[in-house]
Subunit: 314 residues, 2 copies
Amino acid sequence: MRIYFTFEPRPDLKDPLVAEFPEIDFVFENGLSNKELQRADVLVTYGEDLDDNNIQYAENVKWIFVASAGVEKMPAQAIIDRSIVVSNVRGIHKTPMAESILAHILAIKRAIPWMYEQQKKSEWSKKAKQTELRDSTALILGPGTIGSEVGRLLQAFGVTTIGCNRSGKEAAYMDEIVSFDGLLDTLPRADIVISVLPKTVETTHLLKEAHFKAMKSNAIFMNFGRGNLVDENVLIHAIENGEIGYAVLDVFEEEPLVADHPLWTLPNVIVSPHVSSHSSRYVERSLDIFRPNLEKWLNGEKDLENVMNLSRGY
Amino acid sequence: MRIYFTFEPRPDLKDPLVAEFPEIDFVFENGLSNKELQRADVLVTYGEDLDDNNIQYAENVKWIFVASAGVEKMPAQAIIDRSIVVSNVRGIHKTPMAESILAHILAIKRAIPWMYEQQKKSEWSKKAKQTELRDSTALILGPGTIGSEVGRLLQAFGVTTIGCNRSGKEAAYMDEIVSFDGLLDTLPRADIVISVLPKTVETTHLLKEAHFKAMKSNAIFMNFGRGNLVDENVLIHAIENGEIGYAVLDVFEEEPLVADHPLWTLPNVIVSPHVSSHSSRYVERSLDIFRPNLEKWLNGEKDLENVMNLSRGY
């Protein structure tokens, strides 16, 4: 069996893997070549390097392990046509993303941006406008794996968590759940509004002018899902009019954000360049998921973790 | 009965208090006057405005409620001589301080300082050097009320907590406890070293050169206790020599930190101007502690909360 990685893990991660499976021919390349694809039985990829044309060369590939959570860029139909099993690393982002979200919330509450500026001026001042996270209320749009991890951490800080999903069905670490239909009525209670929603037809421009008007004027709005959630002009208008207190954005309608985009310089906006899920431990975590699934695959077991339904897109 | 406040709470906090105790004459002033002190039965103060001379005027004062956690600046002997009961708001700092400490740790782990600088340049870059807090180990010097709250939150993030106190006796939310004697041997295991120790003879220069040499070269060292913990020259030397990765300092040997102090500009040092305990909810919280104790006092009960032993200093 030949396993083709289109990226090369660090030696301290790669070598133990190779040693653990001596019966397997591993090929590690940085990038995708059709020649190697043609010889591979299993493909391990970040999922952004494959197109319809490549898949024609994947004659022997029976399993694609995607070391990523999204598959938006994969040639879904071509993969389905070839009956290739695709599994991913769902859940891998939850720790770094939840830590990033908490980092931004706490930084704002505890006046960290102000403090860094004071230090640059070597200016001792106690005029920090600090508030507390405890006893506040957070509304979490999309309380799935990541959203629930955010909820778990917020609850540890004494925050009331309200999950909001399409159906209104229960979710972990949410004190309360509302459906998308109940969103507008619930927004006035939230001190923090966090979206980790995926991109779907239903989430596109889910938040409209009325939603921002319904938020507290000091609310922190955070988009860590996808940029389609809100028309950026609507968001900019809400910030300029003081309808919300802060916007912390990890995703945008178009990425990268162009240099002259108004969001870069608008007061009370924090731009995170879609890095909230990044972590120095990403490859390590991916291989931790890959290894037991490879065992299963070698034993002929078909119940891999996180097998994807490409026709649904997740 | 006459209660003299040497600070004036906001109307929304003051008015309900006055309404709740109609039998009491409340006097609110911003500052201390001997004239009012002479007429007072109970004194409510932040504790920094009293000296030996003032206490001579406190002829009728039987109880001093200190809306602060430290009493270092109070005229202890004069108060003891007059047998005045002193109680404070111990524990009031735990929420804002623990939130500040977590804010700084997460900011460093998730590259928030880098992100803020990128935004100033309107520069989209994904080259953030982000790590994770999860699975790291924190050593907490002084696992009391504040230290244990820090431990509780860190454990929620999947951090192993090691408390370090004089005796090695158990403390809440610590996976392990070591005594001061075991400190040096334990430091090599810690990714984060946090002190919330009070100022005592034993804590003065508790950390020496050998301790910084024993720390991991990427360790985050945080002093949120008192500036006497370490000779700042030793600390500066450790940072300049890369013996530690980061220093986050809320307290200093001399405060305010003078404008030309090297700590302001040393790379990988964060200066927090002794504001980690500040909160917009401070007075509210103090009065929440004061109110039930005033009830007790009026009923002649002597078991007030947080009665202090001034001769011991806490």
